[in-house]
């Protein structure tokens, strides 16, 4: 046991002292932050004045729309839209070979010279009286992305039209406001029955992503160090002091501890951040305990398979080739999670989360969702995972003891398979 301990300590220190580790601790949350925060910042920043052309056939909306759009300004007070009103008279008719005004404007919008062309036909003015609800104005813009930016334009025109309808039908503005509001609000609950807010929806995803990075990402570190050390020919020197199993166990547990440190920092940071936002009680102590259990078991299961493959290879490229099927298998839980989270306790979710290589990710997602899975399922999944991990370690040890002393041509998967089932 002391020998395994010494190898764990060496492995842990060597990997934690690297720059890569520090970068991982700091950069990964930063990356997450960027993914979520940058679009928010960018939406406030992207405030160039954009040209809009309005071809108003009603003759009454133009001024109102222009005034409304002019009110939309950046924080610095710059106008967001520059509205140009064109005469609707004859705007649709082509003169000789020349296209009509509307066609020309459409082309300009498609080419990005304009943000959008707004067409307001006469029916809009009398919308209240018109039965055909499909008849309405049109907003032409280049692409879906611009359409989103142009959402404001649509709202402005809608409001102008609605104001006219209200006047026409004698609806008071207060009543209109009342009708607009949703009468009921959707609120997510935490396990304890408190209001959890939106973070509750995010918790299963965050847990799963953390586990994925901690298990799949960190065990890649193990493969790298295994291949690199095999290349440096240090293994046989070590085998003069320890058994192959002790060596493998020490390496796997050492790197497992590295991943644990990383996850502890991230999870601790996330909970602290959530709590500063006033979102307490999203994560329960039971969830944390299960998170640790699924991480440790899942890491041991997957890392043993990876270290076995790594031990048989002499270059990282060989290892990546051999590991391709395993990597593909391990990417699946992320895809499946969408289905699982839609109905966390459905048949599909239940079955998928009992497949041992998926268990840590999918079961954790289910545990973090509300309502969680029945307790017996949690225990059963842990038991099954333990069994699979035990088997994986035994088989991996057989591959490892042969693999680390093999130089030259990388073995085929079939050969590795044979090593697994030959006990010598």
């Amino acid at each position: 046991m002391t020998k395994i301990w010494r190898i764990i300590v060496r492995e842990y220190l060597e990997n934690v002292r690297t720059k890569a580790f520090l970068v991982g601790v700091v950069l990964t949350p930063l990356w997450f932050g960027m993914v979520f925060v940058v679009p928010l910042l960018a939406s406030g920043q992207e405030a160039e004045t954009q040209r809009v052309v309005l071809v108003d056939e009603t003759g009454v909306l133009a001024a109102e729309v222009q005034a409304d759009l002019d009110e939309r300004r950046t924080q610095q007070g710059r106008a967001l839209f520059e509205v140009e009103i064109r005469d609707a008279e004859g705007a649709w008719t082509a003169i000789g070979d020349a296209p009509s005004l509307v066609d020309r404007l459409r082309t300009q919008a498609a080419e990005g010279e304009l943000l959008a062309v707004l067409l307001t036909p006469p029916v809009l003015e009398k919308r209240a009286a018109v039965e055909d609800e499909h008849e309405g104005g049109i907003l032409h813009a280049a692409s879906a992305g611009v359409i989103q930016t142009a959402q404001a334009l649509r709202d402005v025109v809608n409001q102008a039209v609605n104001r006219r309808i209200m006047v026409e039908r004698s609806i008071r503005p207060e009543d209109a406001e009342l009708l607009r509001k949703s009468a009921i609000e959707a609120v997510a609950l935490t396990r304890s029955g408190k209001e959890g807010g939106e973070a509750q929806f995010v918790a299963p995803l965050v847990f799963m992503l953390f586990l994925f990075m901690g298990i799949v990402g960190i065990s890649q570190m193990l493969v790298n160090s295994t291949v690199e050390e095999k290349g440096s020919r240090v293994y046989e020197v070590l085998l003069s002091s320890v058994s192959p199993f002790q060596l493998m166990a020490g390496k796997v547990l050492g790197i497992c501890a590295v991943g644990f440190t990383l996850l502890a920092l991230w999870t601790g940071g996330s909970i602290a951040a959530a709590s500063m936002q006033g979102m307490d009680g999203i994560v329960t102590g039971q969830q944390i305990a299960l998170f640790v259990a699924y991480y440790v078991l899942g890491f041991l299961l997957i890392a043993s398979l990876m270290v076995a493959v790594g031990s048989a290879c002499n270059t990282l490229k060989e290892a990546q080739n051999l590991m391709a099927p395993l990597s593909m298998l391990l990417a699946l839980p992320l895809l499946l999670s969408i289905l699982v989270l839609k109905n966390p306790n459905g048949t599909f979710a239940t079955l998928a989360s009992f497949f041992p290589p998926f268990t840590p990710f999918l079961m954790m997602a289910r545990v973090a969702a509300v309502p969680g899975p029945p307790t017996w399922q949690i225990w059963a999944s842990l038991l099954l995972l333990m069994l699979a991990t035990y088997l994986a370690i035994r088989l991996a040890a057989r591959v490892f003891r042969v693999g680390i002393l093999m130089y030259g041509k990388p073995p085929r998967l079939s050969e590795i398979w044979r090593w697994m089932f030959t006990d010598r």
Binding site: R6, R10, S232, V234, E236, V237, S240, V242, R424
Partner: protein
């Protein structure tokens, strides 16, 4: 077993066999290494030397037979008492030298205090004293080779097992290593080493075995092995006359031409004087030395006769 001083055995192999599938790498090998001796395992590449040594280290397990090391079965427990320099060797490149030596020494169960004293001694002895805080990757190849040896001996092993220790060393480091091995032996350490370079074995060993195709073909002390040949050899340096060769000299069974010199193996009852006379007819002789046959020639004949 007189060389061992007290007559105990450091290593005993009995009927040891190792197969890889259908291939028999080591075939019923048996030998004994007296404590305190320098024991050579000789053989060409692929003869089964490394497989035998790995079984001694419990890195491979024999299919049949018994291996005893320092009076115990060869298993994990006895490893702490052995210093092993494998043929495929290397070190953690990123570690600092002091840290590395402590790590390997503590894996052998030694305390830091015990190790630090020896680390000082050996680094000093190998000219690496100023490097203890450097990383392994900063060392030159020659220095790394010396450090590798320090790793092998830093825990003061009772038995030193060296697989092709001289391979890849320059002449200076070869001498450094040889002196270090002799120093260890003077302190009572038993040394087992393998080599395919017979001259090294001749210089160092007092007992040896010759392995060929996984079998022991010759065993004993250096003198016994030579005496078992029952013939003599002649080492000559000469300049041959025009059109002359060394073929067909009287009483000579084999000629090993090594360029500047040649080793002639004689028939058991051959007369060296008659040979010298015949040789003088063919060449200007500058050196003529009757001696026991070299291990190299003995080995070549044993290996050739068997395969």
């Amino acid at each position: 077993m007189s060389e061992g001083g007290d007559g105990t055995l450091a290593v005993r192999f009995e009927g040891v066999t190792k197969r890889y599938g259908d291939f028999v790498a080591v075939d019923r090998i048996g030998f004994e290494v007296p404590a305190g001796s320098i024991f050579g395992i000789l053989g060409s590449n692929g003869a089964g030397k490394t497989t035998s040594i790995r079984m001694l280290m419990n890195i491979l397990r024999p299919d049949e037979g018994v291996i005893e090391v320092l009076g115990e079965p060869a298993d994990e427990r006895v490893k702490a008492r052995i210093g092993y320099l494998p043929e495929e060797r290397g070190l953690y490149k990123k570690m600092r030298i002091l840290e590395l030596l402590r790590f390997f020494g503590r894996l052998k169960g030694r305390s830091t205090a015990f190790l630090d004293e020896r680390i000082d001694h050996w680094l000093d002895r190998m000219g690496l004293a100023g490097w203890r805080m450097n990383r392994v990757e900063e060392l030159s190849k020659g220095m790394a080779q010396k450090l590798q040896f320090v790793v092998t001996v830093v825990h003061a092993p009772e038995l030193l097992v060296l697989d092709e220790p001289f391979a890849g060393l320059d002449p200076v480091n070869r001498d450094v290593l040889r002196d270090a091995i002799l120093e260890m032996r003077r302190k009572g350490t038993t040394v087992v080493f393998s080599t395919h370079v017979m001259e090294q074995a001749e210089q160092l060993c007092n007992r040896l075995i010759l392995i060929h195709d996984g079998r022991v073909v010759l065993a004993g002390s250096l003198d016994e092995v030579r005496a078992s040949e029952g013939r003599q050899a002649v080492l000559i340096r000469c300049r041959l006359g025009e059109g002359q060769t060394l073929d067909g000299l009287p009483g000579v069974t084999a000629v090993a031409d090594r360029g500047n010199e040649a080793e002639l193996t004689l028939e058991p009852d051959a007369d060296p004087t008659a040979l010298l006379r015949a040789l003088l007819d063919r060449a200007d002789v500058t050196h003529f030395e009757v001696r026991e046959p070299s291990l190299h020639e003995i080995f070549k004949r044993m290996a050739g006769g068997r395969s």
